[in-house]
Subunit: 304 residues, 2 copies
């Protein structure tokens, strides 16, 4: 069913999943920029709890045209790079190609559906900690799970086939009946912790919770995001919100992905994580003053 697979934007997460799929015997073609020459020469080195494996040769390409049409394309670009999609996606598509965004936040399925059509678009939420630890080397510090879903509507046979493909490659997956609800639930954590870590001067999650004023903002932001999600028809139980706070101390001095980007001088996913949720919540009639404040602070902090 998926005889050829493209990874569009092979950063740490895309390269990790792509290499797992390739090591399991699939035809995987990586579209990459920065490490293209290194990966062509030396392949990809994958480190995780199961040990270290080298994928060599790795099929790495500099343009989508060289890759050509595939059965399945994973989009793992930063959401800030979605302006490149109209150039990158079309060469990869045939009539039956499925496109799966593994990006953060809101608006990515829509950006892809505008090119590939909603009927061919799926999405996934990655709960993973994977980082580039050396040229061509990706280390997965926590494997987590991919929550997969259709762009709209419940999981189908093809969602489950995609989950099975990943499971066979050693990647834990879960098929969601509402991708949008899953995205909003993930935002309950990402909106406060990713945002406050940046605006509070580059601090880890333990220090956010150790500061009474910041911890209070976490709670208000979570309530606002949950209120917006509920106004849009999603279920976000109170117990879910509590669990998001209670489980955070266990992860210790954690750097949310946006803080990692910020500290590395990379653009943060401002619109996908804060701007788009704010606009959608406000459009649904939910007042989100604390999110509006955080969004403004993030713009001031990062657009210097």
């Amino acid at each position: 069913m998926f005889d050829s697979i493209a990874i569009v934007g092979a950063g740490a997460i895309g390269t990790y999943y792509g290499a797992r799929l390739a090591l399991a015997g699939n035809d995987v073609r990586f579209l990459m920029r920065g490490e293209l020459a290194h990966v062509r020469a030396h392949g990809v080195r994958l480190v995780d709890q199961a040990g270290t494996q080298v994928l060599a040769p790795a099929a790495a390409f500099g343009t989508a045209e060289e890759i050509g049409p595939v059965d399945l394309a994973f989009v793992t670009l930063k959401a800030t790079a979605n302006r490149e999609l109209p150039r990158l996606l079309p060469p990869l598509l045939h009539a039956g190609t499925l496109v799966v965004t593994l990006q953060n936040g809101l608006g990515n399925e829509e950006a892809i559906a505008a090119i590939a059509g909603a009927g061919r678009t799926l999405g996934g939420l990655c709960f993973i900690a994977a980082t580039r630890t050396a040229p061509g080397e990706i280390t997965c510090f926590h494997p987590g799970t991919i929550h997969l879903g259709e762009c709209a509507g419940p999981a189908t046979d093809r969602t489950r086939a995609l989950a099975a493909l990943l499971t066979a490659a050693g990647v834990r997956t879960h098929a969601e009946d509402s991708l949008a609800e899953a995205r909003w639930r993930k935002l309950v954590w990402n909106v406060p912790f990713n945002g406050l870590a940046v605006v509070a001067g580059g601090i880890t999650t333990d220090r956010i919770l150790a500061s009474p004023p910041l911890a209070a903002r976490v709670r208000v932001l979570m309530d606002e995001v949950a209120a917006a999600a509920r106004a849009l028809g999603h279920t976000v139980p109170e117990a879910f919100i509590c669990a998001q706070i209670e489980r955070t101390p266990a992860i210790g001095a954690y750097q949310p992905s946006s803080l990692v980007d910020f500290l590395a001088g990379r653009e943060i996913e401002l619109e996908a994580i804060w701007g788009e949720p704010l606009r959608r919540g406000q459009a649904a009639g939910v007042a989100m003053p604390e999110l509006a404040r955080l969004y403004t602070e993030l713009k001031q902090t990062t657009l210097k």
Copy 2:
């Protein structure tokens, strides 16, 4: 103060801390067996969230005599290998050598103090997830913290000097005023989860908690260990026990270290983690029927 450092038993944990100390400029000498030739030829490769670093050359030795007297020795052997200490430790000692055990469970400080004297013995509890991922390569999946303490009594200037040495090498540390209490608190988690993971057929912590009978045994075992600790004069608040259970789901499908040993065909630390706590609790007048049952089951499971 610590001009020369020996790592006695350079498995994953010892090699990780030793390499961190060496990369920070310290004179570190590794006593190792299995990977001696590889490490001599290629050094140690260290992977963690900060990236990948190579320590080459690494000062690796096959005997304690070749290493000679040092100012500081970390013992990172499995507790099951403590019978080797009377042979391994004496060549490393001069009048002022400090010996720090980073081993699990109870009885290790005593085994070292019998050779080096209690006045030169310290201990540390490692909350870390580090694994050998390829020959000579150690990956640290979660850096955690070392809780350091004196063999008896509160932290002193030398405990803090040792903590500062490790901190300067990028290792998070915490100086404990009661090492024994910290060890008993760690056992509150290790006794049930390390043990049940093995006797229930090799299952991860999420599956232990998903089984009502096993989850019930977790709670009873935690209460027994806490009762023994309290009978010995240590403080173990009820809230501490609750937190141990509540935070475990967040770590997902986790393999406790004893399960990793068991699955790899290595001896588990039966006496340090279960036998010695059982004997000490019973000697203090605490009935520990559930721990006695688990200890018996572990013997039957692992001594085949």
